[in-house]
Symmetry: C2
Amino acid sequence: MDVIKELKGELGEKVLTEPEDIYAYVTDASNVLRQVPLAVVRAYSTEDVSKVLRIANETSTPVVVRGGGTSLTGASVPVKGGILLDVTPMDGIEVNVDDGWVMAEAGATVAKVDQECRKYGYFFPPDPASSRYATIGAALAENAGGLRGAKYGVMKNWVLSLEVVIPGGEVLRIGKPLYKWRWGPDLISLFIGSEGTLGVITKAWLRIYPLPEKVVRILGLFNSLEDAGRAIFEIRRSGILPTMLELLDDESVNIVREQSGLDIPETEAMIIVDVDGPKEAVWRLANQVTEIIGRNGGKAEASDDPEEMKRLYAVRQGIYAAVTRTYKGVLIEDVVFPVSKLVEALREIKKIKEKYGLPMPTFGHAGDGNLHPNICYDPDDPEQVKKAEEMFREVALLAIRMGGSLSGEHGIGLTKKELLVEELKSVNSLGYLKLVKEIKRVLDPKGIMNPGKLYP
Amino acid sequence: MDVIKELKGELGEKVLTEPEDIYAYVTDASNVLRQVPLAVVRAYSTEDVSKVLRIANETSTPVVVRGGGTSLTGASVPVKGGILLDVTPMDGIEVNVDDGWVMAEAGATVAKVDQECRKYGYFFPPDPASSRYATIGAALAENAGGLRGAKYGVMKNWVLSLEVVIPGGEVLRIGKPLYKWRWGPDLISLFIGSEGTLGVITKAWLRIYPLPEKVVRILGLFNSLEDAGRAIFEIRRSGILPTMLELLDDESVNIVREQSGLDIPETEAMIIVDVDGPKEAVWRLANQVTEIIGRNGGKAEASDDPEEMKRLYAVRQGIYAAVTRTYKGVLIEDVVFPVSKLVEALREIKKIKEKYGLPMPTFGHAGDGNLHPNICYDPDDPEQVKKAEEMFREVALLAIRMGGSLSGEHGIGLTKKELLVEELKSVNSLGYLKLVKEIKRVLDPKGIMNPGKLYP
């Protein structure tokens, strides 16, 4: 059976095989590996996805699902060739304000889903920095987080119901778009974090949240990174529950300043804090935050001016792009620490940086304990490549040793498979991996779904 | 191999076999079936649970886990005999405010966990009406909900990490007590809603939430049940996001009044609404609620007096007990409707009540669309028994037909296995059941875990 002939017979012009058509699909934002797929299928419907998974299963052809291609771990690189399933044409969105949900097809971007909800006075809280490109299906498959996680959590906290296509082409519906439903085991989270290795999420019904009446954004500047860490811990501990609680170190701030031309002051560490809530209360809460910043040696400025707030947000959202424009090689970490150990973690990360001598701008969702040290190197210098890889491993092992995790939101993909084993060992959880592999065999006995990823 | 001898060899006096010791375990709050187990094991540690699951697996002996025995669907009745595993001695609780979680062993009650958190200015939001007896392990296995669900959701929304023992005795750790962690598929929710059919939850690390600065409780009285339904929908739709949004019909109110001796006014329908948040804002939000109640023909009274608030809460929390004291036979529904269809649902439920002529006090978490019609009958009258069973089925099918669900929080257990199939058919989800059964075979190939429950 000729896979391409079969695909074209069922899906016609949705199947792309010409080199110029498929070249854009050889890698993703991770840029760690490049591989040309056998064919790209642009899916327009659940039925299209079902056809692809039937043909792929019959012919034992690998299938890699791709949304916006923003993975930083290589999750959407077709490392074993096969079919690259592009779900971006499936981008329908339906808001049901009366019942408090939004239905999004896999290819709708996270930002578009949020925008649609805002037309009705609601919003969709998870907000990955790549939200303008990242798609709902992929954000769920990766359990993405983002800038509003300190208060609103990650993707998995917002799912009411899923439609999933599994190998063979069967369409599975899990749950209903209700505030509550109880079947048996809640299989939803089986697909959350599965990185396309178990099936294809085609539709999701997601909870939405009323827009806060007011937001105040606070900029905090510190002469010491550790002071900033202490302030973050105190803010988190105070019970204020900020929406956003971001940290940028000096290197990060300098890079954004150079790249953006924005007028950003010199500083050792910057934090950006959002406080939201009922209009009468937000300024008082914001003042509590500025007080905590002051108590920890920082200088704070709070604002509810939309332009000023947008400017600050752009600083944070644009930083990874600025780093990759500055350095040819970047390995981005996604480590998590218990918030109570944030100060110690920042100290240890600095030691690692000094030991290796490579630039490592560090920023992230520190309010969640989630940091993104960016290890920057020259990919044409073998010695720097080696150093960078060692640094990457050392930072991840530090997180594991301190009771944290190697990933908060970017996932495992290609780049963290071996490190995942280290983390599982640290909590005696190799049984988790065994069980996940057995469940994978139930759903995908031929191993066609995103082979080479996730499972060491 | 003699199971009891083996158990006593490993667990000594934790194994109970004398009739007077095990009689309390023959049924649970559902009271639909009674069965004497072969033995009761009182587990004091994860190791104890592991020993039981090793011996049970080796001897193919059924294992039924039991917490407080508050299941309303028969989930903890040992219908096939075997080992009744009582986890209530495992009741350790550890609050870590700095990192925002509480660790609870399976047998700790939900109320105790909440109380411990309150010592530190935090609380544990899920609040089943049975929280003084319901245990954490069981509340997770059932994905319990409760009175604060309108704002804070159900058990599954609060889990960071689980420790689970699976058949054969292996201890599995899933995740870490961090705001974020990303391994592969997030297997946590596999055990949420599994009703003890896949393994035993022994420990859970749960997110905690800062105590609201202020709560105002509003009582709304209506001359018409449908008006109350309309008010509930409008409150929910307003974006106020009340913590609690409960409905009681006239029959429910009358029963509580008679049983409690409390001074509760005559009314066709009562709603109880909690609004929480920062101190400056709560009264304004409460006033918005009273306005909505007034606009829909109701009479509202708001209070922040702790005694008055406690009194109202007791009315709602005590109602199911009052119903079971009033009627010998009670079948409790747990149906969910889309909130936008609540008024229609209340009208249709009333029609069913009139058709059958049995008492059916109806109350519930209407803000979530979750209602508990209580079908009351005389168990010694075969005609009433038959009628009650038909009514039960008709109400559940109504919910399914209206896009709702047969259960919001009580689960499937013994009493809803056939109805679950109807619901799955209604959304073309029989594939869900097939997959769940295949995963069950992976974890529990001998089918020892809570046999006879959940899976039709």
